[in-house]
């Protein structure tokens, strides 16, 4: 075998990707828990951990650019590096949205929720699962799992539409709820976007393994 040092650098890149993925998973998990429990401390932790994710994104970007400049990657190596560059943007956005949810959680921490949280935690669980599974599919390079993630995006989208309608009705019936309902509206929008970013990650995993990239979520096919 030759090109030991390049392979070593690719392994280091992979380790950093796994580390970033771990942080992102933790952020989304904690942001949902904080929302459910109205836990300010946990929400603050999520908010603060976003800097670490951003810092890792910067480091990975730099490594990828140096690898492209210095190692002339081709075929699978080139796909691995481009996939890493694409995926970190989605991971960083997911962590941003988790921080956004945490920020709104802090704002609503002293208020009684205008509705019992049933569908929102359900949607959050689905979105979280999509993220975890998309990252799993990346780590294991499992395209069946990646395709599965893409097809589950519709469930998140359906719940999004359902919750938005429900929130509109609550606001119509009681204008005093507008402020909090709007915050919830943002939260579900963030969750919906998290599902989209998980889908993007899964699509890049399919690209990394097969060499062809497409939009795999059902509605956009």
């Amino acid at each position: 075998m030759v090109r030991h040092s390049f392979d070593k650098e690719l392994e280091q890149l992979h380790d950093l990707m796994v580390k970033m993925a771990g942080l992102v998973e933790e952020s989304i998990e904690n942001s949902i828990l904080a929302l459910k429990r109205q836990d300010i401390d946990l929400a603050r932790k999520v908010y603060e951990s976003d800097d670490e994710v951003d810092e890792l994104e910067g480091r990975i970007e730099k490594i990828c650019i140096n690898l492209i400049a210095r190692q002339q990657p081709l075929a699978k190596d080139l796909r691995t590096i481009s996939t890493a560059l694409k995926i970190i943007t989605d991971m960083e956005r997911i962590a941003d949205h988790a921080a956004d949810i945490a920020e709104l959680t802090i704002r609503m921490a002293d208020m009684k929720y205008i509705k019992p949280l049933v569908d929102i935690p359900l949607m959050a669980e689905l979105a979280k699962k999509m993220v975890i599974r998309s990252i799993d599919s990346y780590i294991k390079q499992d395209i069946d799992l990646a395709r599965d993630v893409c097809s589950s995006d519709d469930e998140v989208d359906d719940l999004f539409s359902k919750i938005v309608l429900e929130l509109i009705n609550i606001m119509k019936n009681n204008p005093e709820t507008v402020e909090q309902a709007t915050d919830f509206m943002f939260i579900v929008k963030y969750l919906e976007r998290i599902g989209d970013h998980a889908t993007n990650i899964a699509e890049w995993v399919v690209f990394n393994v097969t060499g062809s990239h497409g939009h795999l979520a059902r509605k956009t096919e």
Binding site: V2, R3, H4, S5, N66, A69
Partner: protein, 252 residues
């Protein structure tokens, strides 16, 4: 001044008769790193490499001004040339094994330096061949003629021959330009391993090779260093437009 670096040059100028081949070349070279010199043909990179172990002394009408320091000693004024060439070994473009056995090729240098003990020479031969990643391929035919080896093997033998006299620095002048891609990558892996124990300076026409294997790079043009720095920086964000043009293939 020179203690932090293994090799330092100050305002080095070299003339072949009236032709000035190097102009005020000043550079510091760190220990246990791979430093690459890149640049178009005739830019002075090989000439500069040869000034570091005084190989240019052999050429008529060469005049050198300025200083080269190796471990703080002035190479042209304070260093014994035999000692210098032992400490600063060199590998050339074309593999040039001596027409003798693999074993004798490696043992040649140590013998010249006075080592006669068979067991000591055996150890040196094995260690040098292991360090040049050739041992497993030749251990059963050490007595065979070295000219029977493939080009890539011959070049690794030449590297082993240099290592046998335990140098501090290894100069390599286009060491892979006569080799196929896989032999080239083997030598590149070897260079990566060698830098743990040696300081490597390599001249290469192959920019991609410099990018792959070096820690620092200097870009030569018309006998001058246009830009030098970390390889990461020079290949992703060069400061001089001429460097940018050269490494992106827009030169001239």
């Amino acid at each position: 001044m020179t203690n932090d670096y293994r090799i330092t040059t100050n305002n080095l100028n070299l003339f072949y008769g009236d032709l000035q081949a190097l102009k005020n070349v000043s550079i510091n070279i760190s220990s246990n790193q791979v430093t690459a010199f890149i640049g178009p043909s005739g830019c002075g990179k090989s000439t500069f490499l040869k000034t570091l172990n005084r190989m240019n002394d052999l050429i008529a009408n060469v005049k050198i001004t300025g200083d080269v320091y190796f471990d703080g000693l002035n190479v042209y004024k304070e260093y014994d040339i035999v000692e210098l060439r032992k400490n600063v070994g060199m590998v050339f473009q074309k593999p040039n094994p001596f027409p003798m056995s693999i074993y004798d090729n490696i043992a040649y240098g140590p013998r010249i330096h006075g080592i006669k003990s068979k067991s000591r020479l055996d150890d040196i031969v094995e260690k040098s061949l292991r360090n040049s990643a050739l041992w497993d391929e030749v251990k059963d035919r050490l007595k065979q003629n070295a000219l029977g080896l493939s080009g890539g093997q011959q070049q690794r033998l030449c590297i082993a021959r240099v290592l046998a006299v335990e140098p501090e620095v290894v100069l390599m002048d286009e060491p892979t330009s006569a080799l196929d891609p896989i032999s080239t990558l083997k030598i590149e892996d070897l260079i990566e391993d060698l830098k743990k124990n040696y300081t490597i300076i390599i001249v290469t026409h192959n920019m991609q090779q410099a990018a792959r294997i070096s820690d620092s790079t200097a870009f030569f043009l018309h006998g001058e260093i246009v830009e030098s720095g970390t390889t990461n920086h020079l290949f992703s964000n060069p400061q001089d437009k001429r460097t940018e043009d050269y490494i992106t293939g827009r030169f001239g």
